[in-house]
Amino acid sequence: MLRFSLTLKKGAFALRADAREPCQRLALMGPSGVGKSTLLAALAGFERQAQGTVHLGDRILTGGKQGLAPEARQLGMVFQRPLLFPHLTAEDNLRFARPAAPPPVSFEEVVARLDLAPVLPRRAHQLSGGEAQRVALGRALLAAPAWLLLDEPFANLDPARREAALALIDEVVERQGLTLVLATHRLEEAVSLCDHLLPLIEENGVSAGSAQPLAQALGGARAPTLVSGTLQEAGGTLEFCYGGQTLRVKAAPFLRAEDRAGPAAALIDPQDVRALAAGAPAPLGCPRFEGQRLSADRLRHGEDVFTLPAPLTPGDGPVAFTLLGATVLPPRRRDAVA
């Protein structure tokens, strides 16, 4: 469980971020250059100018008279670059840390799950970007960490290995009760691995953000519904087409350029589902859907089931409803959210 409140000033760059409630799986999101990596480095103790507190469980890592050195923080860290030791083979890199405690996952399991057997005898310069990144991830897991700090750990992986790496991290974190901090600009990764989200946004030269529970960060207190549709860019704004009608789109800044058109999945927040009385029109600019009732607070439209913020009155027949907006995910992670 991680709790922190940090400020950092480095030349023209200023950062202010906090997680006031303890969180176990935290995603850092925001556009490139906003300071996600710097915040990770500060949490790890690499940024000496950082001020504030970092608590991991009941240990104080930063704060008080002096902070712990990074080597004493029981990290498992994946940096933006793989940073493998060039004089060692992939296997020696994986075995580099010599932790006192047994690691959360065995060497054999890391090799098998991350498909590393063929690269073990190779040296760092003989590995592809994706291979090096998988070795770096394995090396971090085998350091017997108390927490994992991962900076875009899936950026160079092909979809199948990305799934495998994601699943391994999810499992290890779950099994060992590790704390996870994941910097990513993919909402799909955040949604599938994390329960808290810290959106970093730059305003007036200061990058700032606070951690919130994921559902809240996504716009509501209850679980959103995942729907399929099509994304298109029209006049500089994004539109999501669902059920033959166009929805307003949120959280689009997290999407990469290649995801800004074509088949897409979107999260519909319960707060954005409004039942409509029979014959009543939808609010201006919002589509009207003919739904079927499932239970007092659930609506069905085709295969999709929407949760409503307040129960309907019992006895209502088929209900019309409107959707006020959608949070679009890149197309590939919809299964993880469903």
Partner: protein, 233 residues
């Protein structure tokens, strides 16, 4: 067959060069680390380190003589307290050779240290390594090709050192008369050209063997880490 003079001079040269290089290696590593790290005073330290490279070796020998000679305060103290006499002694020859070849070692080491990706230290730190473990398991192995290249160059240069040794340790056969000094003496002796020729051939063979060995070893080490192949300097 080698005569007495050649054997003595060859063995002495190897001894003096080896002691000069190995003895100054720890200091070279310290100085190179400090230079690679940068910070205030780096420029001045760099200039001081390179001074023996631009000064005439005779001047270096003379400076050693006036600081470490038995009449000098420091030299006198060394002799009184430790019984250490450098002048007219093979250790003095080694010291003179070490001072003159020191820049070669520092230069190669500094380049090797500066070529190490600083991110690797962070990675090592994130994996729980203390500063000493980081040096032992990351810095040292990665700087090894540079260390070797510098040491071999310095060794070859120490074999050929003349002016500083001559001035500080003098030309005493069997004690401070290394190959170049023996060649000089042979050339000063009437009819000594044949002896000088043999010594010259020896000197060339030794220097060449050293350079080839060093280059080969450095190449192999660099190839292991995927670093670009480069010459000794």
């Amino acid at each position: 067959m080698m005569g007495d003079v050649e054997t003595l001079a060859t063995l002495l040269s190897l001894k003096v060069a080896a002691v000069a290089v190995l003895g100054s290696l720890p200091l070279a590593l310290l100085v190179a680390t400090r230079l690679a790290r940068g910070g205030p005073g780096t420029l001045l330290l760099d200039a001081l380190v390179h001074l023996p490279l631009v000064l005439p070796p005779v001047v270096v020998g003379y400076l050693l003589l006036i600081t470490l000679g038995t009449q000098a305060p420091l030299g006198g103290w060394l002799k009184e307290m430790l019984g250490l006499r450098l002048v007219f002694h093979w250790t003095g020859a080694a010291l003179a050779a070490a001072v003159v070849t020191f820049p070669f070692q520092v230069r190669a080491l500094r380049l090797a240290l500066e070529a190490i990706d600083p991110g690797l230290y962070r990675a090592a730190q994130s994996l729980g390594l203390s500063p000493w473990a980081r040096f032992r398991r990351v810095t040292f192995p990665l700087a090894l090709p540079g260390l070797l290249a510098g040491a071999i160059t310095a060794f070859a240069a120490a074999l050929g050192e003349f002016g500083a040794i001559m001035t500080f340790a003098a030309n005493i056969p069997g004690e401070t008369q290394t190959l170049p000094l023996a060649i000089y003496s042979a050339l000063q002796t009437p009819g000594g050209e044949t002896a000088a020729g043999r010594l010259v051939a020896l000197a060339i063979a030794l220097a060449l063997a050293g350079l080839l060995l060093g280059e080969g070893a450095a190449r192999r080490l660099r190839a292991r880490t995927g670093q670009t192949l480069g010459s000794l300097r």
